[in-house]
């Protein structure tokens, strides 16, 4: 390895470049390597494809449809495709799938497909905002606690213990029953609650491993400040693990939202969970005849499952990148 001519040449080149550029190049190289490992994980790739399909449907297809075909014109004035306030007077609602409504209509006469697509970007937003908050808090606390240790460390670990013991969904149920919780508030609550929980414990132990590596010691000797070491050395090394946990947290956040709106506890206009809630409270989901009105619950339920599953799949794929011991030989 040491006498590999390529490395020597690159090292010589690197001397001429600015440190930021080197950092960028190194990051790009490690990204390419990690991507190679990740792309070999079938489960991870399936997850990624599903997420891309949902993203395209929600962020590109829906705006186009809403601006063209689903726009209320004189021709289809009767069939408004507004996912929240629309009503189709032409038929008995809920109506099974037809050419006018590819996935049928709900008990209030609204187009199911429009509801589904309308909700997609919101689910993404909720999941990613909540997970980002969680990961930022978790990474900061985890690394700082590991780096400084002592009372700070003990304090945050005890906090994590408490949060870990929290019955999460029951707690959210009571909160959202008391307050008017909208999507962004929910993302904030979920993000904050899980940010102080298990993720800090995991990231702290990873940061402890990084901290014991020799380059941290040499950075200290060369006079780097604590904050510089944390930001430039420790955080980049726990980043892959943070990213992995972010995927699991997206799953958790979307799932929690779906459960809460399924119970009708959230102050939101439309979401996948709310679609099932609407069908359930209108009495269309009863044991024996659930398949008679399948379009009322199956598309929404499947979407929740697929998107949650997809992020979880990505997480499993990333697990093989982060945790080499799980890799196949």
């Amino acid at each position: 390895m040491t006498n590999n001519p390529n490395t020597t040449v690159e090292m010589a080149d690197a001397k001429l470049e600015s440190p930021a550029l080197i950092r960028m190049k190194l990051m790009w190289r490690s990204f390419k390597e990690n991507w190679k490992i990740f792309s070999q994980s079938k489960i991870g790739m399936i997850g990624l494809y599903i997420v891309i399909i949902f993203a395209v449907a929600g962020f590109i297809v829906y705006p186009i449809l809403a601006a063209t075909v689903w726009k209320t014109t004189s021709l289809n004035a009767m069939a408004s495709y507004n996912p929240v306030t629309g009503y189709d007077f032409v038929q008995n609602n809920p109506a099974p799938p037809s050419w006018a409504h590819l996935l049928g209509t709900d008990p209030l006469g609204r187009d199911i497909l429009a509801q589904l697509l309308y909700s997609t970007p919101r689910e993404f937003m909720l999941g990613i905002v909540a997970a980002l908050i969680t990961v930022i808090i978790g990474t900061l606390i985890g690394t700082v606690a590991a780096y400084f240790g002592g009372a700070l460390d003990t304090f945050f670990m005890r906090v994590a213990d408490i949060v870990l013991l929290f019955p999460f969904i029951p707690f959210l149920i009571v909160i959202s029953g008391m307050m008017q919780v909208d999507l962004l508030t929910l993302a904030l609550i979920i993000g904050l609650l899980s940010g102080f929980g298990g993720i800090t414990i995991v990231l702290r132990s990873q940061a402890l491993i990084v901290k014991s590596r020799p380059f941290i010691e040499s950075a200290k000797i060369s006079g780097a400040s604590d904050s510089y070491i944390i930001v430039n050395h420790i955080i980049p090394n726990v980043m892959p693990l943070s990213f992995l946990y972010m995927m699991f947290n997206v799953t958790g956040a979307i799932f929690s939202e779906a459960v809460l709106s399924f119970f009708g506890l959230l102050n939101i206009k439309m979401s996948w969970g709310l679609m099932i809630y609407t069908a359930d409270t209108a009495g269309y989901i009863i044991g024996s005849n659930i398949w008679n009105y399948w379009w009322l619950w199956l598309p929404a339920g499947a979407s929740i499952t697929l998107l949650c599953g997809a992020f979880y799949f990505i997480g499993r794929g990333l697990d093989e990148v982060v945790n080499p011991r799980l890799r196949k030989r």
Binding site: I43, F166, I169, F171, M178, I304
Partner: protein, 385 residues
Amino acid sequence: MMLKYIGNRILQIAILLVIYVAIVFFLLHAMPGGIKTLLISNPKLTPQAQEAIIRAFGLNQPLWLQFVDYMKNVFTLNLGISFSYYPTPVWNIIAERLPRTVLLFTVATLIAFFVGFASGKSLAWNRGKTTEYVSTIVGIITYTIFTPLLIFVMIWFFGSFLGIFPLNQFLNPDLWIHTRLNAQVIFLYILLTMLIIGMVMLVSYLVALRFSHRVRTRRLIFYLSTIITVVFSVFFWWVSPVGIYAADILWHMVLPVMTVTIISYAGNMLVMRDSMLETIKEDFITTARAKGLPDKVVRDKHAARTAMLPVVTNFVLSLGFVVSGGVITESLFSWPGMGMTLLDSTLAKDYPLAAGALIFTGIFVLFAHLAIDIIYAFLDPRIRY
């Protein structure tokens, strides 16, 4: 030593409990639109009742005094009076419903643990085969499936399509209408029977461990005493006049238990698989093989036994997840336990009951945590008490 460790843990749990109750209190009382506002705006209560509640709970006092009172009340189980079941005290409702949740969870959790453990073990051992791939996918699907979706399909499949299990409810009203029996009493007896069976299993296991060194003899002692106890208790219920009512309750329990099991087994399975894959690469597994032990012994006694430890740890982490799944399961199957109570009281804006349910769900989780900690200390000799 062990007792000291358990004592320590109980002390820690007590501290955590105080903090937990404090959080719940400030959530309910200190937030804008807290309990007092809600109390006054609740149309179901007469002004006199409102007055009485405000006076009884000192809602006009300063916040910190209220907090002290509240804490005292929680530890004396004085949780207030339910709005929706006025004037039933909250504690009475919870005392009735907590055992139902405990039973549902304990049974489902034990099954989920063993199913997950066994399947994760064989997945790792048969790595690279099609069955491994299929079961992993199925596991992940059941792990990430939207719980209500799963329940709809379960209810339809077992309740309507196959028609073998009752759709929902705790019991069959047609059967119980002709009797003056109290369902709760029967239920508690069921719980007692299960407790006895569990204790017999534990004791016979310990006895077997203590008095025999041959695996075959140990197994004989364990299985024989378990089977005898089970047969005996089934016989006891069979001849007793209330056996049919107990059977009715158990019959209604099957679907909820199955659902909670399906929700939680996959997590155990996946962790067990990963942990087992790592353990197989350990040096002591090579040693075990080199000793000429049969493959099954290497797999079960050496690899699986050691790989089990992270599964138990993971179990603590996933407890919240399982409880959440339980809330959904209980309310969709109309299983009147803590989860359903929590949801119904929240929807009915019955805050004393919701707070009580939340607190006791927390206590339940705390004790489950304690139980797992103690089991872990038994399983891993490296834990210093």
